[in-house]
């Protein structure tokens, strides 16, 4: 009964949300909600490697941004079909994750955190150096991806497409975590020495987890490029990686809904504080209450929001 609710309720809200917004003549929030859905996907991908895999990757934005740039570059070069651009984004992000993961996973602890950070910064500067594709100024895409027969520049249609993709990804993640692979990954996170002793090829499992997570982040990146029709190097910056980590911890590290919940909460808080009259003259200082809330969660509720809920039901 509980399980049906945890899926049906958010799905139901997500499905009717744009219709409600249209009825209230607040179409802007449909576009805003799409952004949340995209970040939910990115955060969910980080949660896979961070929460379930126990690998503290401080460079996740690299895969997110790389996916976005592939779509942007292809669009500017005339390839706007999503059947080409989006799989390309996924493949490139996965390849990057393979290389970075292969090297980084040879280290551990704080060194792993630092080395993932280093690789992400490297990729950031690679994109900054590409003056032909905007460099620091970023790249504007002429339009959203084509190929579906209906124009994606319509925010309504775009929202539902992103929602469907998010649902598919979440379902696949669910199956993955329930499978043998998922159980082994969690076993590795719990006690790596024991897992190795039992005979699992720990390195290979971790690497595969890392690559899958990178691939999903790449897809999210392809979507974010379409969302704003603009890509900039800031998408790969370590502050962006930090933001994704904040989402995961707010939502609940290692909890299934941790990523999506964190994305919703963080972006909603940001909009609430900065875009509405709530803080009045202090709206520009929205990062202050967000920082305080984050600090409080980290110190006193490390299980995050999803964690707090699942503890209650026990």
């Amino acid at each position: 009964m509980n399980k049906v609710l945890t899926i049906a309720l958010p799905a139901g809200i997500a499905i009717v949300f744009p219709l409600v917004m249209h009825a209230l003549d607040q179409q802007f929030y449909t576009s805003f909600a799409t952004r949340i859905l995209i970040y939910a996907m990115a955060a969910a991908s980080l949660n896979l490697v961070l929460g379930y895999g126990g690998m503290v990757s401080f460079g996740h934005a690299a895969f997110f941004g790389a996916g976005a740039y592939i779509v942007g570059i292809l669009a500017v070069e005339g390839v706007s079909s999503l059947w080409i651009a989006w799989p390309a984004a996924i493949v490139v992000a996965a390849a990057a994750a393979l290389v970075i993961g292969a090297l980084s996973l040879r280290t551990r602890g704080v060194y792993f955190i630092m080395i993932t950070l280093a690789f992400a910064q490297m990729m950031y500067y690679v994109f900054v150096s590409m003056k032909a594709y905007g460099g620091d100024d970023g790249l504007s895409m002429p339009a959203r991806s084509t190929g579906l027969g209906v124009s994606l520049s319509n925010d309504f249609v775009w929202y539902y497409l992103v929602l469907v993709l998010l649902m598919i990804i979440l379902y696949l993640l669910h199956r993955l975590l329930r499978s043998r692979f998922g159980r082994v990954i969690e076993a590795i996170r719990e006690n790596e020495t024991r897992a190795t002793a039992v005979g699992y090829p720990v390195y290979r499992y971790k690497l595969l987890c890392f690559v899958i997570s990178g691939a999903i982040a790449g897809l999210a990146g392809a979507l974010i490029a379409n969302q704003t029709s603009y890509v900039g190097p800031a998408l790969l910056h370590w502050v962006q990686s930090g933001t994704l980590m904040i989402m995961v911890i707010l939502g609940g590290v290692g909890r299934f809904w941790g990523g999506p919940v964190g994305a919703v909460v963080l972006l909603a808080l940001e909009e609430l504080f900065s875009g509405t009259p709530l803080l009045g003259d202090y709206s520009l200082h929205w990062q202050l209450p967000v920082g305080v809330i984050l600090l409080a969660v980290v110190l006193f509720a490390p299980q995050g929001i999803a964690g707090a809920f699942s503890q209650k039901s026990q």
Binding site: L50, R106, I115, L117, Y125, V128, M245, I249, Q287, L295
Partner: protein, 302 residues
């Protein structure tokens, strides 16, 4: 021009060292990733600007700013950061990230959105003639002087004094140090306050050259992390060598590479490629150290 660029690189490296020294000690002894270190640098610069305005004198304001920032650092450590020592690195990253957000906004609330003006002290606003007939900004020379003096002082402090010995003991093996009866709590607070003062010194000295603005810490923070990784976490000597190395690569990227590239690419591309390439190189260096010799060039931990 080579002399001038070398001096520039030295100046940048020494200031980076001031930040890296505090960071490496905190990381080495308390095993804590402190992202808010850059915020102390920013607070130091802001306090300096205010004190200069209040007292009218650069040199009177400087010790005031150092003391005030050390107090802020100590307060931060006692109230908040102390709770993070026992926690895992992810928690430390996120908590100190939150501190950055809060610090940035508090500074904005107190000092406003615009950058603050901080000028070099009178007497150091003009050039000085170096051997060879080259003119160089006297203030930058002063920075090099101060940076070198502090580096030497720190070296003596850490290697030749009792306190320094305790610090080194804590860095190489914290449990043993505690077992030997070192008052670890007071030591930690002292180390943190010292780190904060060093940050403030860097912020105050760089203020006239850069701008005193919100967010100034984030840019330099990441470089400080690169430095301590390359140099070795917990090692002052490593931080020194690492900073000079990074300073060298950075200057090379900003000065020499664009000139070389200008022969091959358009000016816009050449000007962009040089700094980007040197940044990439810095991170490649960092990754290489982490991969091949994670303890860094001068490991502090036995």
């Amino acid at each position: 021009m080579l002399l001038e660029q070398s001096l520039n690189s030295l100046q940048f490296g020494l200031m980076l060292f001031l930040l890296a020294a505090g960071l490496t000690l905190v990381f080495g002894i308390m095993d804590m990733i402190n992202l808010a270190h850059g915020s102390l640098y920013m607070i130091g610069a802001y306090l300096m600007a205010s004190f200069v305005q209040a007292t009218g004198s650069f040199w009177v304001a400087l010790p005031l700013a150092l003391a005030a920032t050390a107090l802020v650092g100590a307060a931060l450590e006692v109230t908040l950061l102390r709770k993070l020592y026992e926690r895992d690195h992810l928690t430390q990253v996120l908590a100190t990230f939150a501190v950055i957000l809060i610090a940035n906004e508090v500074v904005r609330l107190i000092w406003g959105n615009q950058s603050l003006m901080l000028n070099a002290p009178a007497g150091l606003t003009g050039p000085v003639e170096l051997p060879g007939g080259v003119q160089y900004a006297s203030y930058r020379l002063a920075i090099i002087g101060v940076g070198t003096a502090v580096a030497v002082l720190l070296y003596f402090l850490v290697t030749k004094t009792r306190v320094g010995m305790l610090v080194r003991a804590g860095a190489s093996n914290r449990e043993m140090a505690v077992a030997m009866g070192v008052n670890i709590r007071r030591l930690f607070t002292a180390v943190f306050a010292l780190g904060a003062a060093l940050c403030a010194l860097a912020g105050a000295m760089l203020g006239p050259i850069l701008a005193v603005q919100v967010g100034m810490g984030e840019n330099i923070l990441i470089l400080a992390f690169v430095v301590i990784v390359i140099g070795g976490i917990g090692s002052i000597r490593g931080a020194f060598v690492g900073s000079l190395l990074v300073g060298l690569v950075d200057t090379m990227g900003r000065a020499l590479l664009p000139i070389a590239f200008a022969k091959m690419f358009s000016p816009q591309v050449a000007s962009n490629l040089g700094p980007a390439l040197s940044s990439i190189l810095i991170y490649v260096l960092m990754a290489a150290v982490l991969f091949l010799r994670p303890q860094g060039l001068f490991p502090a931990r036995g």
